[in-house]
Protein backbone atom coordinates (compact mmCIF):
# COMPACT_ATOMS: atom_id res chain seq x y z
CA UNK A 1 0.00 0.00 0.00
CA UNK A 2 1.09 3.58 -0.61
CA UNK A 3 1.24 5.26 2.81
CA UNK A 4 -0.98 8.32 2.92
CA UNK A 5 1.59 10.59 4.47
CA UNK A 6 4.20 9.78 1.86
CA UNK A 7 2.27 9.86 -1.40
CA UNK A 8 4.93 12.18 -2.83
CA UNK A 9 8.10 11.80 -0.78
CA UNK A 10 11.08 13.99 -1.66
CA UNK A 11 13.10 11.14 -3.16
CA UNK A 12 10.30 10.39 -5.61
CA UNK A 13 10.12 13.85 -7.05
CA UNK A 14 12.34 12.98 -9.98
CA UNK A 15 10.50 9.80 -10.86
CA UNK A 16 9.18 10.57 -14.29
CA UNK A 17 7.54 8.93 -17.25
CA UNK A 18 7.99 6.56 -18.94
CA UNK A 19 9.34 4.67 -15.90
CA UNK A 20 6.74 6.17 -13.58
CA UNK A 21 3.18 7.30 -14.06
CA UNK A 22 0.46 8.73 -11.92
CA UNK A 23 -2.60 6.59 -11.43
CA UNK A 24 -6.13 7.57 -10.43
CA UNK A 25 -7.16 6.67 -6.91
CA UNK A 26 -9.91 4.37 -8.21
CA UNK A 27 -7.46 2.64 -10.55
CA UNK A 28 -4.97 2.16 -7.71
CA UNK A 29 -7.76 0.48 -5.78
CA UNK A 30 -8.71 -1.75 -8.73
CA UNK A 31 -5.08 -2.85 -9.09
CA UNK A 32 -4.82 -3.37 -5.31
CA UNK A 33 -2.00 -0.82 -5.09
CA UNK A 34 -4.05 1.10 -2.59
CA UNK A 35 -6.72 0.03 -0.15
CA UNK A 36 -10.16 1.49 -0.56
CA UNK A 37 -13.78 0.93 -1.47
CA UNK A 38 -16.64 2.70 -3.14
CA UNK A 39 -19.81 3.83 -1.40
CA UNK A 40 -21.76 1.34 -3.46
CA UNK A 41 -20.16 -1.89 -4.49
CA UNK A 42 -19.73 -2.34 -8.26
CA UNK A 43 -17.25 -3.90 -10.64
CA UNK A 44 -14.57 -1.50 -11.73
CA UNK A 45 -11.74 -2.15 -14.14
CA UNK A 46 -11.18 1.08 -16.08
CA UNK A 47 -7.60 2.07 -15.37
CA UNK A 48 -6.45 5.66 -15.89
CA UNK A 49 -2.80 6.60 -15.88
CA UNK A 50 -1.28 10.03 -16.35
CA UNK A 51 2.18 10.88 -17.62
CA UNK A 52 4.37 12.55 -15.01
CA UNK A 53 7.13 15.14 -15.44
CA UNK A 54 9.04 17.25 -12.97
CA UNK A 55 8.08 20.42 -14.82
CA UNK A 56 4.55 19.19 -15.32
CA UNK A 57 2.03 20.03 -17.96
CA UNK A 58 3.09 23.02 -20.04
CA UNK A 59 -0.49 24.17 -20.58
CA UNK A 60 -2.27 26.43 -18.13
CA UNK A 61 -5.99 25.75 -18.44
CA UNK A 62 -8.04 27.72 -15.97
CA UNK A 63 -10.08 24.81 -14.62
CA UNK A 64 -7.35 22.17 -14.41
CA UNK A 65 -5.60 20.97 -11.29
CA UNK A 66 -2.37 20.58 -13.23
CA UNK A 67 -2.32 24.16 -14.56
CA UNK A 68 1.12 25.77 -14.46
CA UNK A 69 0.02 28.83 -12.56
CA UNK A 70 -2.04 26.98 -9.98
CA UNK A 71 -0.23 27.44 -6.64
CA UNK A 72 1.95 24.58 -5.39
CA UNK A 73 4.54 22.20 -6.74
CA UNK A 74 3.45 20.12 -9.68
CA UNK A 75 4.07 16.97 -7.69
CA UNK A 76 1.66 18.06 -5.00
CA UNK A 77 -1.16 19.07 -7.29
CA UNK A 78 -4.36 17.11 -7.48
CA UNK A 79 -5.99 16.26 -10.79
CA UNK A 80 -9.79 16.14 -10.64
CA UNK A 81 -9.55 16.92 -6.92
CA UNK A 82 -8.03 13.69 -5.64
CA UNK A 83 -4.42 12.64 -5.42
CA UNK A 84 -2.99 10.54 -8.18
CA UNK A 85 -0.33 8.32 -6.59
CA UNK A 86 2.99 8.06 -8.41
CA UNK A 87 3.71 4.43 -9.27
CA UNK A 88 6.18 2.31 -11.20
CA UNK A 89 4.94 1.74 -14.75
CA UNK A 90 6.19 -1.86 -14.77
CA UNK A 91 4.24 -2.56 -11.63
CA UNK A 92 1.07 -1.22 -13.26
CA UNK A 93 1.66 -3.50 -16.25
CA UNK A 94 2.32 -6.52 -14.02
CA UNK A 95 -0.78 -5.88 -11.99
CA UNK A 96 -2.81 -5.44 -15.16
CA UNK A 97 -1.91 -9.04 -15.93
CA UNK A 98 -2.50 -10.26 -12.36
CA UNK A 99 -6.01 -8.79 -12.32
CA UNK A 100 -6.61 -9.23 -16.05
CA UNK A 101 -10.07 -10.72 -15.65
CA UNK A 102 -11.31 -7.53 -13.93
CA UNK A 103 -9.73 -5.12 -16.40
CA UNK A 104 -12.01 -3.42 -18.89
CA UNK A 105 -9.93 -0.58 -20.35
CA UNK A 106 -6.68 1.30 -19.84
CA UNK A 107 -6.32 4.95 -20.77
CA UNK A 108 -3.02 6.78 -20.98
CA UNK A 109 -3.57 10.49 -20.36
CA UNK A 110 -0.92 12.63 -21.95
CA UNK A 111 0.00 16.08 -20.71
CA UNK A 112 1.26 18.91 -22.88
CA UNK A 113 4.95 18.14 -22.73
CA UNK A 114 7.59 17.45 -25.39
CA UNK A 115 8.27 13.95 -24.04
CA UNK A 116 4.63 12.89 -24.04
CA UNK A 117 4.62 11.14 -27.38
CA UNK A 118 7.82 9.12 -26.96
CA UNK A 119 6.83 8.07 -23.46
CA UNK A 120 3.34 7.09 -24.55
CA UNK A 121 4.90 4.83 -27.17
CA UNK A 122 7.19 3.27 -24.58
CA UNK A 123 4.37 2.63 -22.12
CA UNK A 124 2.01 1.34 -24.79
CA UNK A 125 4.64 -1.16 -25.96
CA UNK A 126 4.99 -2.46 -22.42
CA UNK A 127 1.23 -2.81 -22.11
CA UNK A 128 0.53 -4.55 -25.40
CA UNK A 129 3.38 -6.98 -24.75
CA UNK A 130 1.72 -8.27 -21.60
CA UNK A 131 -2.01 -7.50 -21.60
CA UNK A 132 -5.05 -7.82 -23.82
CA UNK A 133 -6.90 -4.97 -22.14
CA UNK A 134 -8.05 -2.45 -24.74
CA UNK A 135 -6.01 0.75 -24.68
CA UNK A 136 -7.09 4.35 -25.20
CA UNK A 137 -4.96 7.45 -25.36
CA UNK A 138 -6.31 10.74 -24.14
CA UNK A 139 -4.01 12.80 -26.25
CA UNK A 140 -2.35 16.20 -26.04
CA UNK A 141 -2.88 17.73 -29.50
CA UNK A 142 0.00 20.26 -29.32
CA UNK A 143 2.56 17.45 -29.32
CA UNK A 144 0.93 15.29 -32.02
CA UNK A 145 0.64 14.96 -35.77
CA UNK A 146 -0.55 12.41 -38.31
CA UNK A 147 2.52 10.18 -38.06
CA UNK A 148 2.39 10.01 -34.30
CA UNK A 149 -1.30 9.15 -34.27
CA UNK A 150 -0.64 6.45 -36.83
CA UNK A 151 2.07 5.03 -34.54
CA UNK A 152 -0.50 4.60 -31.78
CA UNK A 153 -2.86 2.82 -34.13
CA UNK A 154 -0.09 0.55 -35.40
CA UNK A 155 0.79 -0.39 -31.83
CA UNK A 156 -2.76 -1.53 -31.14
CA UNK A 157 -4.34 1.47 -29.47
CA UNK A 158 -8.02 1.29 -30.47
CA UNK A 159 -9.47 4.56 -29.18
CA UNK A 160 -8.24 8.14 -29.22
CA UNK A 161 -9.65 10.79 -26.95
CA UNK A 162 -9.21 14.52 -27.28
CA UNK A 163 -9.86 16.72 -24.27
CA UNK A 164 -11.45 19.64 -26.06
CA UNK A 165 -13.33 20.51 -22.86
CA UNK A 166 -14.50 23.97 -23.96
CA UNK A 167 -17.12 23.38 -26.65
CA UNK A 168 -17.02 26.71 -28.44
CA UNK A 169 -14.04 28.60 -29.76
CA UNK A 170 -14.77 31.51 -27.42
CA UNK A 171 -14.92 29.30 -24.33
CA UNK A 172 -11.82 27.38 -25.39
CA UNK A 173 -9.89 30.62 -25.88
CA UNK A 174 -11.11 32.04 -22.59
CA UNK A 175 -9.87 29.12 -20.51
CA UNK A 176 -7.07 27.57 -22.54
CA UNK A 177 -5.56 30.15 -24.91
CA UNK A 178 -5.90 33.62 -23.40
CA UNK A 179 -4.49 32.54 -20.02
CA UNK A 180 -1.20 33.43 -18.25
CA UNK A 181 0.88 30.69 -19.87
CA UNK A 182 -1.61 29.59 -22.46
CA UNK A 183 -0.85 28.60 -25.98
CA UNK A 184 -3.40 25.98 -26.86
CA UNK A 185 -5.16 26.49 -30.15
CA UNK A 186 -8.75 25.61 -30.99
CA UNK A 187 -7.76 24.87 -34.59
CA UNK A 188 -4.98 22.51 -33.47
CA UNK A 189 -7.41 20.53 -31.34
CA UNK A 190 -9.85 20.16 -34.22
CA UNK A 191 -7.05 19.20 -36.61
CA UNK A 192 -6.13 16.36 -34.28
CA UNK A 193 -9.78 15.33 -33.82
CA UNK A 194 -10.20 15.16 -37.59
CA UNK A 195 -6.90 13.37 -38.17
CA UNK A 196 -7.77 10.86 -35.46
CA UNK A 197 -11.14 10.22 -37.06
CA UNK A 198 -9.44 9.64 -40.41
CA UNK A 199 -6.84 7.26 -38.97
CA UNK A 200 -8.84 5.37 -36.32
CA UNK A 201 -12.20 5.26 -38.09
CA UNK A 202 -15.86 5.55 -37.14
CA UNK A 203 -16.70 5.58 -33.44
CA UNK A 204 -13.06 5.16 -32.46
CA UNK A 205 -12.51 8.77 -31.49
CA UNK A 206 -14.00 10.62 -28.57
CA UNK A 207 -14.02 14.24 -27.59
CA UNK A 208 -14.26 15.29 -23.96
CA UNK A 209 -16.80 18.05 -23.44
CA UNK A 210 -17.16 19.83 -20.12
CA UNK A 211 -20.48 21.26 -19.00
CA UNK A 212 -20.13 24.38 -16.89
CA UNK A 213 -17.27 26.37 -18.41
CA UNK A 214 -19.56 29.21 -19.45
CA UNK A 215 -20.91 27.69 -22.66
CA UNK A 216 -24.58 27.88 -23.62
CA UNK A 217 -26.82 24.87 -24.07
CA UNK A 218 -26.80 25.60 -27.78
CA UNK A 219 -22.99 25.55 -27.88
CA UNK A 220 -23.09 22.14 -26.26
CA UNK A 221 -25.79 20.66 -28.50
CA UNK A 222 -24.16 22.05 -31.66
CA UNK A 223 -20.93 20.25 -30.89
CA UNK A 224 -22.82 17.02 -30.10
CA UNK A 225 -24.61 17.13 -33.47
CA UNK A 226 -21.36 17.85 -35.28
CA UNK A 227 -19.50 15.01 -33.56
CA UNK A 228 -22.24 12.43 -34.00
CA UNK A 229 -22.57 13.43 -37.65
CA UNK A 230 -18.90 12.56 -37.99
CA UNK A 231 -19.15 9.27 -36.07
CA UNK A 232 -17.20 10.67 -33.14
CA UNK A 233 -18.34 10.18 -29.55
CA UNK A 234 -18.74 13.17 -27.28
CA UNK A 235 -18.00 12.18 -23.68
CA UNK A 236 -19.60 14.32 -21.01
CA UNK A 237 -17.92 15.79 -17.97
CA UNK A 238 -19.38 18.09 -15.37
CA UNK A 239 -17.10 20.96 -14.37
CA UNK A 240 -16.19 20.61 -10.71
CA UNK A 241 -13.97 23.39 -9.36
CA UNK A 242 -10.43 22.40 -8.50
CA UNK A 243 -9.45 24.18 -5.25
CA UNK A 244 -6.90 26.97 -5.81
CA UNK A 245 -7.21 26.79 -9.58
CA UNK A 246 -8.11 30.06 -11.31
CA UNK A 247 -11.70 28.76 -11.54
CA UNK A 248 -11.73 27.39 -8.01
CA UNK A 249 -14.63 29.62 -7.01
CA UNK A 250 -16.73 29.13 -10.14
CA UNK A 251 -20.21 27.68 -9.77
CA UNK A 252 -20.90 24.26 -11.20
CA UNK A 253 -23.66 23.72 -13.76
CA UNK A 254 -26.86 23.17 -11.82
CA UNK A 255 -28.11 19.61 -11.70
CA UNK A 256 -31.21 20.31 -13.83
CA UNK A 257 -29.13 21.65 -16.70
CA UNK A 258 -26.67 18.79 -16.38
CA UNK A 259 -29.38 16.11 -16.43
CA UNK A 260 -31.06 17.66 -19.46
CA UNK A 261 -27.80 17.74 -21.36
CA UNK A 262 -27.19 14.09 -20.47
CA UNK A 263 -30.65 13.14 -21.71
CA UNK A 264 -30.50 15.10 -24.94
CA UNK A 265 -27.05 13.80 -25.81
CA UNK A 266 -28.46 10.31 -25.36
CA UNK A 267 -31.46 11.11 -27.57
CA UNK A 268 -29.21 12.44 -30.32
CA UNK A 269 -27.09 9.30 -30.14
CA UNK A 270 -29.80 6.68 -29.78
CA UNK A 271 -32.93 8.31 -31.27
CA UNK A 272 -31.44 10.36 -34.03
CA UNK A 273 -32.86 13.51 -32.45
CA UNK A 274 -32.49 16.35 -34.95
CA UNK A 275 -31.41 19.93 -34.25
CA UNK A 276 -34.94 21.07 -35.21
CA UNK A 277 -36.29 19.26 -32.16
CA UNK A 278 -34.56 21.73 -29.87
CA UNK A 279 -35.34 25.38 -29.31
CA UNK A 280 -33.36 27.99 -27.41
CA UNK A 281 -33.82 31.51 -26.12
CA UNK A 282 -31.65 34.42 -27.23
CA UNK A 283 -28.88 33.40 -24.81
CA UNK A 284 -28.76 29.85 -26.09
CA UNK A 285 -30.59 28.31 -23.13
CA UNK A 286 -32.65 25.27 -24.01
CA UNK A 287 -36.37 26.06 -23.90
CA UNK A 288 -38.01 23.17 -25.72
CA UNK A 289 -37.48 19.53 -26.58
CA UNK A 290 -39.85 18.09 -29.14
CA UNK A 291 -40.15 14.32 -29.30
CA UNK A 292 -42.58 12.49 -31.60
CA UNK A 293 -45.60 11.19 -29.71
CA UNK A 294 -44.78 7.69 -30.88
CA UNK A 295 -41.31 7.87 -29.43
CA UNK A 296 -42.16 9.34 -26.05
CA UNK A 297 -42.85 5.97 -24.44
CA UNK A 298 -39.62 4.61 -25.80
CA UNK A 299 -37.74 7.60 -24.42
CA UNK A 300 -39.42 7.27 -21.03
CA UNK A 301 -38.54 3.57 -20.97
CA UNK A 302 -34.87 4.37 -21.51
CA UNK A 303 -35.08 7.12 -18.97
CA UNK A 304 -36.59 4.61 -16.51
CA UNK A 305 -33.59 2.36 -16.95
CA UNK A 306 -31.32 5.29 -16.18
CA UNK A 307 -29.08 4.60 -19.16
CA UNK A 308 -28.70 8.24 -20.30
CA UNK A 309 -27.28 9.14 -16.91
CA UNK A 310 -24.54 6.56 -16.80
CA UNK A 311 -20.92 7.53 -17.42
CA UNK A 312 -19.95 7.50 -21.06
CA UNK A 313 -16.49 6.28 -21.85
CA UNK A 314 -14.46 3.96 -24.02
CA UNK A 315 -15.77 0.42 -24.28
CA UNK A 316 -14.46 -2.67 -22.56
CA UNK A 317 -13.98 -6.01 -24.31
CA UNK A 318 -17.72 -6.74 -24.04
CA UNK A 319 -18.72 -3.49 -25.72
CA UNK A 320 -20.13 -1.99 -22.51
CA UNK A 321 -18.54 1.17 -21.09
CA UNK A 322 -15.13 0.13 -19.82
CA UNK A 323 -14.02 3.45 -18.37
CA UNK A 324 -16.48 4.65 -15.75
CA UNK A 325 -14.42 7.21 -13.75
CA UNK A 326 -16.29 6.88 -10.44
CA UNK A 327 -16.54 10.19 -8.59
CA UNK A 328 -14.69 11.98 -11.37
CA UNK A 329 -17.18 14.86 -11.50
CA UNK A 330 -18.60 14.91 -7.98
CA UNK A 331 -17.77 14.08 -4.40
CA UNK A 332 -18.93 10.81 -2.82
CA UNK A 333 -21.29 12.81 -0.62
CA UNK A 334 -23.00 14.37 -3.64
CA UNK A 335 -25.59 12.99 -6.02
CA UNK A 336 -23.95 10.97 -8.79
CA UNK A 337 -23.55 13.29 -11.74
CA UNK A 338 -22.82 10.29 -13.94
CA UNK A 339 -23.40 6.80 -12.67
CA UNK A 340 -20.58 4.23 -12.97
CA UNK A 341 -23.29 1.54 -12.78
CA UNK A 342 -26.92 1.34 -13.82
CA UNK A 343 -28.92 3.67 -11.58
CA UNK A 344 -31.39 2.03 -9.21
CA UNK A 345 -35.11 2.74 -9.38
CA UNK A 346 -34.67 5.12 -6.43
CA UNK A 347 -31.91 6.93 -8.32
CA UNK A 348 -34.20 7.28 -11.33
CA UNK A 349 -36.94 8.81 -9.17
CA UNK A 350 -34.39 11.40 -8.04
CA UNK A 351 -33.11 11.96 -11.58
CA UNK A 352 -36.64 12.63 -12.85
CA UNK A 353 -37.14 15.25 -10.16
CA UNK A 354 -33.88 16.88 -11.12
CA UNK A 355 -34.74 16.86 -14.83
CA UNK A 356 -38.06 18.71 -14.55
CA UNK A 357 -38.66 17.50 -18.06
CA UNK A 358 -42.23 18.77 -18.16
CA UNK A 359 -40.83 22.31 -18.37
CA UNK A 360 -39.41 21.70 -21.84
CA UNK A 361 -41.02 18.53 -23.24
CA UNK A 362 -43.00 19.39 -26.37
CA UNK A 363 -43.30 23.07 -25.35
Amino acid sequence: MIPLETIVPEDEKKKMSPDFVRISAASAMALRMRSGRFTRDFDFGGINILLNYDNGCLADCGYCGLARTRPGDYEDKSFIRVEWPLVDTDEVVDRMTTYAENMTRLCISQVTHPKSHADTIEITKKLVAKTDTPISILCAPPVLNREKLQEYKDLGVDMIGVGLDGVSEAIFKQHRTDVPNGSLKWSNYWDIINLSREIFGEWKVNVHTVVGLGESDKDMMDVFFHLFDNQIFPYLFSFNPEPDSRMGDWERADIKRWRRIQLIKHLIEKYDLKPEALAYDADGNLTSLKVDEGKINEVIEHLDKGIPFMTDGCPGPDGEVGCTRPYGSYKPSEQYRDFPFQPSSNDVVQIKKELELEEIMNK
Partner: protein, 148 residues
Protein backbone atom coordinates in the same frame (compact mmCIF):
# COMPACT_ATOMS: atom_id res chain seq x y z
CA UNK B 1 -1.82 -3.63 21.26
CA UNK B 2 -1.08 -6.69 19.17
CA UNK B 3 -0.09 -7.09 15.55
CA UNK B 4 -2.54 -8.84 13.23
CA UNK B 5 -1.14 -9.00 9.74
CA UNK B 6 0.13 -5.41 9.30
CA UNK B 7 -2.39 -3.85 11.70
CA UNK B 8 -1.83 -2.78 15.29
CA UNK B 9 -5.00 -3.78 17.10
CA UNK B 10 -5.79 -2.66 20.62
CA UNK B 11 -7.39 -5.74 22.12
CA UNK B 12 -8.18 -4.02 25.40
CA UNK B 13 -11.06 -2.10 23.78
CA UNK B 14 -14.63 -2.99 22.87
CA UNK B 15 -15.47 -3.25 19.16
CA UNK B 16 -18.69 -2.68 17.24
CA UNK B 17 -18.56 -5.59 14.79
CA UNK B 18 -20.85 -4.05 12.18
CA UNK B 19 -19.68 -0.47 12.07
CA UNK B 20 -16.05 -1.18 12.90
CA UNK B 21 -15.72 1.25 15.77
CA UNK B 22 -13.48 0.83 18.74
CA UNK B 23 -15.17 1.84 21.98
CA UNK B 24 -13.29 2.69 25.17
CA UNK B 25 -15.65 2.57 28.15
CA UNK B 26 -14.73 4.17 31.45
CA UNK B 27 -17.57 4.30 33.93
CA UNK B 28 -20.54 5.70 32.10
CA UNK B 29 -18.52 7.38 29.36
CA UNK B 30 -17.51 5.87 26.02
CA UNK B 31 -14.89 7.24 23.66
CA UNK B 32 -15.42 6.13 20.04
CA UNK B 33 -13.15 5.87 17.02
CA UNK B 34 -12.68 3.90 13.81
CA UNK B 35 -10.99 0.51 13.66
CA UNK B 36 -7.65 0.38 11.80
CA UNK B 37 -9.20 -1.85 9.15
CA UNK B 38 -12.02 0.53 8.29
CA UNK B 39 -9.69 3.52 8.21
CA UNK B 40 -7.48 1.80 5.68
CA UNK B 41 -10.23 0.51 3.43
CA UNK B 42 -11.97 3.85 3.34
CA UNK B 43 -8.91 5.54 1.84
CA UNK B 44 -7.95 9.09 2.74
CA UNK B 45 -10.71 10.76 4.75
CA UNK B 46 -11.64 14.17 3.39
CA UNK B 47 -14.67 15.26 5.42
CA UNK B 48 -16.34 14.46 8.73
CA UNK B 49 -19.66 16.03 9.60
CA UNK B 50 -21.14 15.67 13.08
CA UNK B 51 -24.00 17.88 14.20
CA UNK B 52 -24.22 15.82 17.30
CA UNK B 53 -22.89 17.63 20.32
CA UNK B 54 -25.30 17.53 23.25
CA UNK B 55 -27.80 15.36 21.40
CA UNK B 56 -29.00 11.90 22.39
CA UNK B 57 -28.82 9.01 19.98
CA UNK B 58 -30.15 5.49 20.14
CA UNK B 59 -27.84 2.63 19.29
CA UNK B 60 -27.52 2.42 15.51
CA UNK B 61 -28.85 5.92 14.92
CA UNK B 62 -26.85 8.18 12.60
CA UNK B 63 -24.97 11.03 14.23
CA UNK B 64 -23.02 12.25 11.21
CA UNK B 65 -21.32 11.29 7.98
CA UNK B 66 -17.79 10.51 7.02
CA UNK B 67 -16.40 10.93 3.53
CA UNK B 68 -13.26 9.57 1.93
CA UNK B 69 -11.96 10.00 -1.61
CA UNK B 70 -14.29 7.40 -3.09
CA UNK B 71 -16.61 6.56 -0.26
CA UNK B 72 -19.17 8.20 1.97
CA UNK B 73 -21.10 6.61 4.81
CA UNK B 74 -23.08 7.35 7.93
CA UNK B 75 -21.63 7.42 11.40
CA UNK B 76 -23.93 5.33 13.61
CA UNK B 77 -23.94 5.36 17.37
CA UNK B 78 -22.40 2.12 18.68
CA UNK B 79 -24.33 2.54 21.94
CA UNK B 80 -27.24 4.69 23.09
CA UNK B 81 -26.31 7.90 24.78
CA UNK B 82 -25.70 11.62 24.66
CA UNK B 83 -22.71 12.93 22.74
CA UNK B 84 -20.76 15.09 25.14
CA UNK B 85 -17.60 15.72 23.13
CA UNK B 86 -16.85 15.93 19.42
CA UNK B 87 -13.25 15.83 18.21
CA UNK B 88 -12.98 19.20 16.46
CA UNK B 89 -9.47 18.40 15.25
CA UNK B 90 -10.83 15.50 13.23
CA UNK B 91 -13.48 17.74 11.70
CA UNK B 92 -10.77 20.20 10.69
CA UNK B 93 -8.33 17.50 9.60
CA UNK B 94 -10.13 14.22 8.83
CA UNK B 95 -6.84 12.55 7.90
CA UNK B 96 -6.08 12.30 11.59
CA UNK B 97 -8.24 9.17 11.46
CA UNK B 98 -5.90 7.68 8.88
CA UNK B 99 -2.78 8.70 10.76
CA UNK B 100 -3.83 7.80 14.29
CA UNK B 101 -7.07 5.85 14.47
CA UNK B 102 -6.71 4.98 18.15
CA UNK B 103 -5.24 8.30 19.27
CA UNK B 104 -5.81 11.77 17.85
CA UNK B 105 -8.28 10.37 15.32
CA UNK B 106 -11.02 9.60 17.86
CA UNK B 107 -14.51 10.81 16.91
CA UNK B 108 -16.80 11.43 19.88
CA UNK B 109 -17.34 10.83 23.56
CA UNK B 110 -20.75 9.67 24.76
CA UNK B 111 -22.53 9.56 28.08
CA UNK B 112 -24.18 6.17 27.94
CA UNK B 113 -27.84 5.61 28.74
CA UNK B 114 -28.28 1.87 28.25
CA UNK B 115 -24.78 0.47 28.55
CA UNK B 116 -25.68 -2.50 30.72
CA UNK B 117 -27.78 -4.11 28.01
CA UNK B 118 -26.11 -2.87 24.88
CA UNK B 119 -22.50 -3.52 25.77
CA UNK B 120 -23.22 -7.22 25.44
CA UNK B 121 -23.51 -6.69 21.68
CA UNK B 122 -19.94 -5.44 21.44
CA UNK B 123 -16.87 -7.62 21.07
CA UNK B 124 -14.49 -7.71 24.00
CA UNK B 125 -11.55 -9.86 25.07
CA UNK B 126 -8.33 -10.54 23.20
CA UNK B 127 -9.35 -13.89 21.77
CA UNK B 128 -12.69 -12.65 20.48
CA UNK B 129 -11.24 -9.42 19.12
CA UNK B 130 -8.49 -11.30 17.27
CA UNK B 131 -10.95 -13.83 15.88
CA UNK B 132 -13.32 -11.08 14.72
CA UNK B 133 -10.55 -8.94 13.24
CA UNK B 134 -9.02 -11.84 11.29
CA UNK B 135 -12.38 -12.82 9.91
CA UNK B 136 -13.14 -9.24 8.84
CA UNK B 137 -9.69 -8.92 7.29
CA UNK B 138 -10.35 -12.02 5.22
CA UNK B 139 -13.73 -10.66 4.17
CA UNK B 140 -12.25 -7.30 3.16
CA UNK B 141 -9.44 -9.01 1.25
CA UNK B 142 -11.95 -11.16 -0.62
CA UNK B 143 -13.86 -8.03 -1.60
CA UNK B 144 -10.66 -6.55 -3.04
CA UNK B 145 -10.58 -3.63 -0.62
CA UNK B 146 -7.09 -4.24 0.74
CA UNK B 147 -3.90 -3.34 -1.11
CA UNK B 148 -1.59 -6.23 -1.83
Amino acid sequence: MIKIDKYDVDTSLFYDANEHYWVKIEGNVAKVGMSPLIQETSGAFVAVQMNALGKEFSKGEGFGTIEAEKHVGPLKAPLSGKITKVNQEVIENPRLINYDAYGDGWLVEMELTNAENEVLDLIIGEDKVVEWFKSELKKFEDKGWIAQ
